[in-house]
Symmetry: D2
Subunit: 411 residues, 4 copies
């Protein structure tokens, strides 16, 4: 089959048409590992709040590749030398940067695949694909691991202003309808440049950078940490904690085979095997949803109660607080619940719990976003004079939550 | 709980904010039967072509209710009397008009729930809900069944220019990125009126009606009948035909319980029981996807081969033709396949097959779309003088397809 | 000044960013002849109906150049050879195709510059610019005149599916808010190809072509020929007919110098001089608006009455009719007006008048839009089998209008 | 004519359809004073940078009225009592809040109508209209003047989060294509409430408020104060300063009558007469553009040179600086120019000049934007705990500019 037959164009409601630039990338996209991303939604349980938010990690990865094409074009226009193999490495690295995400990744990372980070999994997948494609992913892997000598390429893949963020904020805003997250990715990319191997934004783009940081923070508090999404995700974590607990006690918890595989095991980064990876590649949102639908009818009270909450969108009550919830407060509520119903103290832990979430719009300890002036001098964006309020964005914000059954409210 | 606590606003990327008008409707939306629509995608397998097309029947139903609110507002503004209970009936009827759809409805209607039409199922669900809500859905059911005396209300729910179409064309266009389907629903609704109990579009809206019909036809051929969506849906039907065949022969076909329930049964409209309905209410896209992922590893060749095709997006070859495919041609291809591989004639039927699709932009035999002139005289839109080309839209277009494994091409 | 300093990027709300591809084109854009297009609105008096429709011929020309860049890119991708000088010729020809338009061109072409067609003027401007730029526009002029040997290039500039239409429909739809005109220009351009030197649309684009033709017709009847825009434009023509009549009788009609210049002259294509062209280049919308504002206070009744109508948006009554208005009907109304007021028969002609407008969505006598099938055979789009309704679009539609003062209604 | 015949719907590309709510408002919109706003662009000279920015003050005023309708609807939904006459007062006040703007208002306020503030003029127009409409604008005038007892109504018309800003940011962003200014007006309006007669935003809207303030600041620096718009506006001011200087010396400066009227006079707020107001009502963008086109050919060097700059978009060089430009630096450049050409010192002042611009995203001395918590306690938005960076937005930012002919660069 000739190369040109594989050149494909995809419709994207956001960018219009997206072009797959060459045959190797087409083959990567067609690989079952990548196709699996079609079945993993990008925003987890957020669809319970934003009914349009069903877009997938597949679509996001394709969108990233499109923006990376724009970035390469823009940088070359400004005289930055990027070889064809470096270009390809950028496309492949961004396409695969999230391939290690499992379904509802936050919930799963705290339950069934606890102990293995999604970036590690992405890397494992890349190595597998690199074998399949005879080493053609070598450069991409170097870039992804941050080991390639050209710093700006690494920053395009992973930094506080990377292509990943430029796509997901715009995409999540589009599909959720939270209009404020609609950042001007195209403009920011137009203003990227490279100075002394560092990725920079030209001076006149400073307001767009600030707008980007503020929009991102807004998306965190208004969408990603929306209290309904949050409580749904917490319940989901609890469901799988419970299922794993039961499974490891030897109780039968009906579900698909790959899910069973992970319920029965305790993984660690070190011992994570090829078979583990293969089984992981078979998991997607459908296993999770199908399982909790089944578990609504299981005898274990906690498992069925929490499962019903998600399926029927009849969630625990969640309170957002500015101060940490005391252990006493939580215990008190658990006691109350135990008295109200006939559950055990151990069960009550699944139904009354607290915790915290944290967001920092701009992190001083990560690599900075650099601004270049007309003389090509570069500065951390927060040091550029009139932008006092950017400094304020570095302050981490922590909020606390307390979740419990609605029945506790009514007494 | 007071009424006002239940008033909710939803984000819709298309319409901005959608308001749930009252407490009864809020309760219907919260019911598990309706929440299930969150897990059923609107465009079936189309996401394999249009990666953004993951919107759900839930979102569409909510969008319909929103447009119905606009329609009621617009008609009242023109002096059409609509009582509060009629208004509510319209909202409920449109909200529930598609509640009987199963996952991937076309594929399922030709396999596991063969013999029971989705409109019948919608009606069954409505009756169940009517019991739950103490008869408050009586009027809505009358309207849905076409038995309410006011004709225009029935036309708003189901006709060649109903609210359903005004939402789904716009929504499918938005999420798929096929920009041409972006009809001007708001304008058409602004131009609706009622003359002698008939729903009409005011004369000056005739070009918008034509634009709507042409856009709809385009969506059919470019999106709904896109050859890749089509072949995927046909394969899906075959997978479930096969699974049902095996199940009914007594072979174990691993899947979730509700799916098992339907694989083991042959349904008819007449015998469809309360339990059947309950089991149906537990089915959604996740059961289907989880099942075919599992079936990739089943020993039955047909079942596993077809399942892999869908999961890995490595589909049968499909050819679109203007003429019917002869039985001889199909047989010849099946023979070739049998020689090439070691499958049986019976298996070959699942891998080589033909059929037809048909679309008619405007159907002369259904109720017409009426245009009213300034004297409130009404005419079928195709009779309005200079619109010769509307007449042409009444011609049904039939296309034929032939599907077979790619291996047959290469010999 | 180096070339690269001139490379510019413009914001376009429709396409995002538009790039000016080289220094020559930048210099053409900066030329006063081209800058003048910033002061000439694209949709004439339509802003009286669509308050957002104030976009200019400048913006449209820039948008055309952008789409032409996309077309060149798409055609080259498919293997069509286009040299760099041909590419430039295409950009320049499309940029300048409308440069001969005066303010409110339809009204002016029937009054002050009567006798000289805007395409002739465009050509004259191109020749002037060609002198300024030392012959660098030679090729562009050849293409514009239809004399270049490569047919498809001429079709890109002027045909029933040219770049001009692909921009103006989308742009006019965007700024007016008539959503139905929002054609999918990007998709049509993606599907362009060249077969035997003929510009074609690939088969699968046939529905997009139909959608384009239907949208265009809709824009004609709903926007360009909207009865309020139409009557305003007709009144404007009458104002200038009247002003010219008075001026040529020797009466002083206060206005700017270049406008005075044309009021005092009768032009012909043959005698149109270099000075005429220079004076024409000084005219824009502001001369017209400033003049009619002044004329509201002139003693001539017709001049002041018609001027006030436009400025205060208090227009003549217009009736749209399917049949030609008889001379008798018009005379009768004029008599009535004369009796009602104290104007003369000659004045009445300016206040009561009739005429016709005509639109043909697809013209059989112009060069056809060709569709190519997979074997690269090409056919006129209306001959492609299932598209009966395209045939219908070839029927010219004529409508008649009758305009008169509102006072005639009330008696 | 009956009331209902006057109910009109306007197309707005941003909001879809805008409804004129009643006959009185229809008549105000139809009044020549209001129609004049169709001929005054909203963003002054910005179209030289953003070619789509030709939207008018008419369109903005209509858009404001639409948002006010949404605000009234939203507040009433939350139980805020607003009588029908108060509602009308809000619509009229917002519709007319900018009616006193002249063409290119900033440039004119520093030249031909120096000494009379546009808000004073708005008020004068309102009083005139109030006479015409027999006192029906009494309440609206009270609200506009800030004298109505209900504080929140005054805040809707004029405050740091008023309806004016909610429309113009969104509109200017839309037409200019500066996507970052696309604030979520609809969401902010949904979250408005009234607590103790104070307009507040509900707590959960705090990130939208921050986004609004950051977007507004961005629009200032990226659009309104874009250096090309700025220098064009400064040149325009100089043109009119010069024209006025010449006129008052008795030299003939050809232009339209109303413009002549103002060139010949020095106005003061106190002596501003009815006739002054009438003449002002005849001025719009066309007088300004027509005049400077004429002045390109006037003998006065300064007048013609500056006029050509604007018409041909061949502007002075502008440098933006963080520090004040010293008088010495300016004098030095003027000397250099005098040596280079044969102009006088007095003329040089028009061609070399400096100044400053200032913007403050949030002004502590104006009335604050209040946030209400769940207990209906209200706080200044910058006092709400985790929003440190809002505090930073209160810092005024001043930038300095220096303008001079390009020829001075080249030596």
């Amino acid at each position: 089959m000739s190369n040109s037959n594989k050149l494909k164009i995809l419709n994207d409601p956001i960018y219009g048409f997206v072009t797959i630039p060459n045959s190797l990338i087409y083959d990567i996209v067609q690989h079952p590992y990548f196709q699996r991303l079609r079945r993993i939604s990008q925003m987890g349980m957020s669809f319970l709040v934003f009914p349009g938010a069903h877009h997938t990690r597949f679509h996001h990865a394709i969108g990233c590749m499109h923006l990376m094409q724009k970035a390469v074009y823009s940088l070359r226009f400004k005289g930055v030398q990027i070889s064809e193999s470096e270009e390809n490495a950028l496309y492949i690295a961004i396409l695969l940067h999230d391939i290690g995400h499992g379904p509802f990744s936050h919930a799963m990372e705290h339950s069934i695949v606890e102990g293995v980070h999604h970036e590690q999994l992405s890397l494992r997948f890349m190595h597998e694909l690199n074998e399949t494609f005879n080493g053609q992913l070598d450069l991409a892997i170097q870039v992804f691991k941050g080991e390639y000598p050209r710093q700006f390429m690494i920053q395009l893949i992973s930094s506080q202003l990377d292509i990943d963020r430029l796509d997901y904020l715009k995409r999540d805003s589009f599909y959720s309808g939270v209009a404020e997250g609609n950042i001007n990715s195209e403009r920011i990319i137009q203003m990227l440049n490279v100075v002394d191997d560092v990725l920079v934004v030209e001076e006149k783009g400073i307001y767009s950078v600030e707008h980007f940081l503020v929009s991102r923070r807004l998306m965190y508090w208004q969408a990603y940490f929306h209290k309904t999404s949050l409580v749904a995700e917490l319940i989901l974590t609890k469901v799988f904690n419970r299922a794993k607990e039961l499974a490891q006690k030897g109780q039968l918890v009906p579900c698909t085979k790959p899910l069973q595989y992970f319920l029965n095991r305790t993984l660690t980064q070190e011992t994570f095997s090829k078979e583990d990876l293969f089984q992981f590649s078979l998991l997607d949102d459908s296993d999770i949803i199908a399982a909790i639908k089944t578990w609504m009818f299981e005898p274990d009270y906690v498992l069925s109660a929490l499962s019903k909450m998600i399926i029927n969108r009849d969630l625990l009550k969640i309170k957002m607080l500015t101060d940490k919830v005391s252990k006493e407060k939580v215990d008190e509520l658990r006691q109350k619940l135990i008295q109200q119903t006939d559950i055990t103290a151990e069960q009550a832990k699944y139904l009354v719990f607290s915790g915290k979430i944290k967001n920092q719009a701009y992190n001083l300890e990560d690599g900075p976003i650099y601004i270049s002036d007309k003389k090509n001098q570069i500065k951390d964006v927060i040091m550029v004079s009139d932008q006092l309020n950017l400094k304020a964005l570095t302050k981490p914000v922590t909020k606390y939550y307390l979740c419990f059954p609605k029945s506790l409210l009514e007494n």
